[in-house]
Symmetry: C2
Subunit: 119 residues, 2 copies
């Protein structure tokens, strides 16, 4: 009990890309870590904003009208309903905060859709 989460150790414990792990719960929100590598599905979350905080590497969030590129220590909130495609040619480790019911591929289920994984 009272054990803090070590983000680097958690991220070192798995290798799968685009497969978020829930490391903590804040009310009805999840705090998740994910490894980004290559291109993710273009999708929307119709009912929620989504917070991205880059921990290592570089993540680009491709929007209809712009690319938002985040390095370590940069964060961005994708507003609800806004189509976005996370991409990371060279890899990134990312902290996400979003409602616990949020599915990674939002309104666009497919091969990269994952179940909620709490560790």
């Amino acid at each position: 009990m009272h054990e803090p989460v070590d983000l680097a150790a958690t991220l070192a414990s798995f290798d799968e890309a685009w497969s978020p792990r829930t490391v903590a719960v804040l009310n009805d929100y999840d705090v998740r870590v994910v490894k980004a590598r290559g291109e993710f599905t273009k999708h929307r979350h119709p009912d929620t904003d989504e917070l991205f905080v880059v921990l290592t590497g570089s993540l680009t969030i491709r929007l209809d009208d712009a690319d938002v590129t985040l390095g370590p220590g940069r964060l961005y909130v994708v507003p609800r309903g806004v189509e976005h495609q996370p991409i990371s040619p060279d890899g990134a480790e990312v902290l996400l905060v979003e409602p616990s019911t949020t599915v990674n591929t939002g309104d666009t289920p497919g091969g990269l859709t994952t179940e909620r994984q709490v560790i």
Copy 2:
């Protein structure tokens, strides 16, 4: 528009301890940064959990039955209603996520209570 938040630059823009700045909004939650230095007020948030992610330095969250000490890249969620006292003898920079209505000193208003500051 579409400008990411640079956490280090934001933290370099002010020096006041225990005075959270809201850097982004996620639904009805705030993403805040705060400089911890010395001892904060012992308090509770009766209605919400509170997420602490340490960015730099070392933060101890003193609970009734334990001290939780967080270095960079460590996170901890203080459950709603749990009395806690953040302390940082040598200073820390911390990311917080909590409902936008959350007051920093919770149920224990005093000299360190601040208004919500959105930057």
